[in-house]
């Protein structure tokens, strides 16, 4: 078998060559430099950097808050997607378009705006303050920022799946006397489950790496409100390139695992979809 199938169309050599060259120059070589930098460290140094108490504290916050944010987004993402798909109400189209706002809004803007709204005398923060809930400069603020920036992933993953739920199946179940909760549990949720999991993973992946929106609201205290990307920046500012690279490799490895999980989930969803169609 040759490398590619014959075609009458021209330009494969040019476009394929340009694509691989550009990809290598901009993405792959720089990433290789990162891995090589961390690889040039002595193994014991590497372990010392990536398992220092400060690093462990930052993983706990980065991964804990990201998991929480992804969970919140799956719950609210399902409700929002359901509302947008199933109900007609004034302003539905505008709300639908607004869901993508966190994609389009620069993270620094989200960061300062959220901090202002949830600080002690902000629009929402002033009502939470008497209740003893401090959002800005705590882990709650970190979770909130991560929830905002990863929200569209969950909604947009669930929305098309909900549109595909077979209404006649639901109606058949209801005609046969099934309660609404039973229909939700046995027909709707199983259909959208792969989409929910994909949404969760995408939201988590985005949240773990997020930097811009978090650093404004986090307070950035070591061990308490310091996320891993910020710790990398601190290492870089101290010209500790190897330490930064070591933490970067840890995050990179986690990104790869997440990417793999997303691919597997989507393959699973497609398989289930094909089975359902038969």
């Amino acid at each position: 078998m040759s490398f590619r199938k014959a075609s009458v169309l021209p330009g494969f050599g040019l476009t394929f060559g340009f694509t691989t060259f550009f990809l290598s120059a901009i993405v792959l070589l720089p990433l290789a430099a990162l891995v090589a930098s961390a690889g040039s460290m002595h193994w014991s140094d590497f372990v010392r950097v990536v398992s220092s108490p400060r690093a462990l504290g930052s993983y706990r916050l980065s991964f804990g808050a990201s998991l929480l944010a992804a969970t919140i987004n799956v719950i609210f993402g399902f409700i929002i997607a359901w509302t947008l798909v199933r109900y007609e109400f004034p302003g539905r189209k505008i709300i639908d378009a607004l869901i993508d706002m966190p994609f389009a809004l620069p993270t620094a803007v989200s960061g300062i705006a959220l901090t202002t709204v949830f600080s002690q005398n902000g629009w929402i923060g002033r009502f939470l303050e008497p209740l003893g809930v401090k959002v800005a400069y705590t882990w709650i603020g970190v979770t909130l920022a991560l929830t905002l920036i990863s929200m569209p992933f969950a909604v947009r993953a669930v929305q098309p799946a909900l549109q595909e739920v077979q209404r006649d199946l639901e109606e058949a179940a209801e005609t046969l006397g099934a309660r609404r909760v039973y229909v939700l549990w046995r027909i709707i949720l199983p259909t959208v489950l792969p989409a929910l999991l994909t949404g969760f993973t995408l939201a988590f992946a985005r949240a773990v790496g997020e930097y811009g929106s978090v650093i404004f609201i986090a307070g950035n205290l070591p061990m308490k409100t310091e996320i891993t990307p910020l710790l990398i920046v601190i290492h870089l500012e101290e010209f500790d390139y190897q330490g930064a690279a070591a933490l970067g490799v840890v995050m990179l490895a986690i990104s790869f695992v997440i990417l793999l999980a997303i691919n597997l989930l989507q393959a699973w969803g497609r398989r289930r979809h094909v089975q359902a169609a038969h």
């Binding site: 169309l9 330009g11 993405v27 720089p30 990433l31 607004l98 929402i124 790496g209 970067g248």
Partner: protein, 290 residues
Amino acid sequence: MAVVLPHGAFADDAATRPGQHTWVHAIVRWLCITVSLTFLAAVLLAPLATVFAMALAQGLAPYLESFADPDTLAAIRLTLTTALVVVPLNTVFGLAAAWAIGKFEFRGKSMLITLIDLPLAISPVISGMVFVLLFGLHGWFGVWLQEHDISIVFALPGIILATMFVTFPYVARELIPLMQQLGNDEEEAAITLGAGGWMTFFRVTLPKVRWGLVYGMVLCNARAMGEFGAVSVVSGHIRGLTNTMPLHIEILYNQYNFVGAFAVASLLTLLAVLTLVVKTLVERTGYRRR
């Protein structure tokens, strides 16, 4: 009854379906809409409104004056320059990648697609750091670059490289599935009838994928202008020289110059709104995001 309803038409007729407790349905509907709107109002609308409320907190005059600051103007110029370099380059890349991947069958294709998507899965901080590791003073080429008096990190080239890395997949991931889906029939016909490769590309392929191209370019531009983490790592934060708009926001905000910070933020928010409007208009042509 075999009546085909248009999408959305069944939304409110649920109450008339048999076996439905209408009032339960009404409560669930009301609850879902309320919860959705409250959640979005708290995490999305309130911050958006705050941007403009804070920018105009002291009236219109101080808001407009904050744009007269030469550092702010320099930041706006730098952001525009960066986007003007990055978006066309990534568009050319996206077109080339989509042509190679969408029009031909070859081994390792899915691997190539995964690699193109890679920057989306990587933390922006890492996207910037890789260039510091390569071109920074203590980086691989640091000494060589200094000897030849070339600055990449803490200068415009570094900002452009980091932005390019971050926005790398945006155009390609719109065009690849689109070209795959639209197929090669028209192009093959054009070539068979004697059209050249470039002519086929400009007269047949480009019109076919134009909405996907606009869609990808608009999103690429929004990210390029708004990128913070990656650019922050490579920029060095030199006021008036290597400060993009998002970085300038951070500096002004940390100096408690809230009107200035939110004034710049309001420009970027307007850009985001514009991006969403274009995106919605493109979707209205029937183009669907894959």
